[in-house]
Amino acid sequence: MTALGGYLLVAALVFAIGLGGALTRRNAILVLIGIELMLNAANLNLIAFWRYGPHPEALTGMMFAVFSIAVAAAEAAVGLGLVISIYRHTRTTDLDEMNRMKG
C-alpha cells in the first residue's frame, strides 16, 4: 500500500461519510456540512495527487485545491443564507417538510 493509496482511501471514506450525512440527515444545515465534507475529501484527493504526481512543481493540484476551498467558502455562505431565509418563512430546517417544489 503506497502513501498515495492511503490518502485516497481516507478521502474516499470522508467522501462517503459526507455523502451519507447529506443523504440521511434531516437538518438542512447538517446536509450542508455533509457537502462540505465531500468537498474537503475532493481537496484531499487533489493535494495527494499533486504531491505524488509527476510534476509537483507545476502546483496545479494545489492551486485547484486552494481555489476549491475559496469556492467552498462561497458555497457555504450562500447555502447557509438560503437555509436561514427558508427558516424565516417556514419555521423549520427539516428537509422532509421542505417539499414545496413537489411536481
Binding site: A16, P56, M62, A73, G81
Partner: protein, 166 residues
C-alpha cells in the same frame, strides 16, 4: 505509511462520523471543525503548507463559525425531539456505502499503478503567489468575482425584508 498519517486520518474520519451522527447540531458543527482540522493537518503532511493553513483559516475560522451562527439563528441548537434522520435514511446509508465501496475498489484496483514515494517538492509561498498572479490569474479573478457575488447574494438572501420585524 507513517504513524502520524494514521492518527490524523483516524481523527478526521472520527470527526466526520461524529459530524453526521451526533444528535446535537452544535456538536455536529464542532465535530466537523475537528474533521476540518484533521484534513488541514493531512495537507501539512502532504507538504502543502499553504493549503493547510488556508484550510484552517477558512474552514475553522470562517465556515465552522458560519455554520454555528446558522444553527443558532435557526433554533437548531436545541436537540430535536423526533428522529434526526430522514425517513429514507436507510437508502441514504446504503448509497453512501456503495459509493465508498466503488471508490475503495477503484483505489485498490489501481494501487499497483499509483506512483510511489517521491521527494517532497520545495514550494515557497513566493512561488504560489507568482503562480496565482501568473498562470492562474484568470481563475483568481473569477474566484474573486464569485466570492463578491456570493457575499452580496448571501447578504441579500439572509437580510430581513423591510416590513418584516426582527
Amino acid at each position: 505509511m507513517s504513524i502520524v498519517f494514521w492518527i490524523l486520518s483516524f481523527l478526521t474520519v472520527l470527526g466526520g462520523l461524529a459530524a453526521v451522527t451526533l444528535r446535537n447540531t452544535v456538536h455536529c458543527a464542532l465535530a466537523v471543525a475537528i474533521a476540518f482540522a484533521g484534513l488541514a493537518l493531512l495537507y501539512l503532511q502532504l507538504d502543502a503548507q499553504f493549503a493547510g493553513f488556508a484550510q484552517i483559516l477558512i474552514y475553522i475560522g470562517a465556515v465552522a463559525i458560519l455554520v454555528v451562527f446558522a444553527i443558532l439563528l435557526t433554533r437548531g441548537s436545541d436537540t430535536p425531539t423526533d428522529g434526526i434522520f430522514s425517513r429514507t435514511w436507510f437508502a441514504g446509508t446504503a448509497i453512501a456505502a456503495a459509493v465508498f465501496a466503488v471508490l475503495g475498489w477503484a483505489v485498490i484496483q489501481s494501487v499497483h499503478a499509483l506512483p510511489h514515494e517521491t521527494a517532497a517538492p520545495e514550494v515557497t509561498v513566493n512561488q504560489i503567489g507568482n503562480a496565482l498572479l501568473g498562470r492562474y490569474v484568470l481563475p483568481l479573478e473569477i474566484v474573486a468575482l464569485l466570492l463578491t457575488a456570493s457575499l452580496v447574494g448571501a447578504v441579500m438572501v439572509a437580510m430581513h425584508e423591510k416590513g418584516e420585524s426582527k
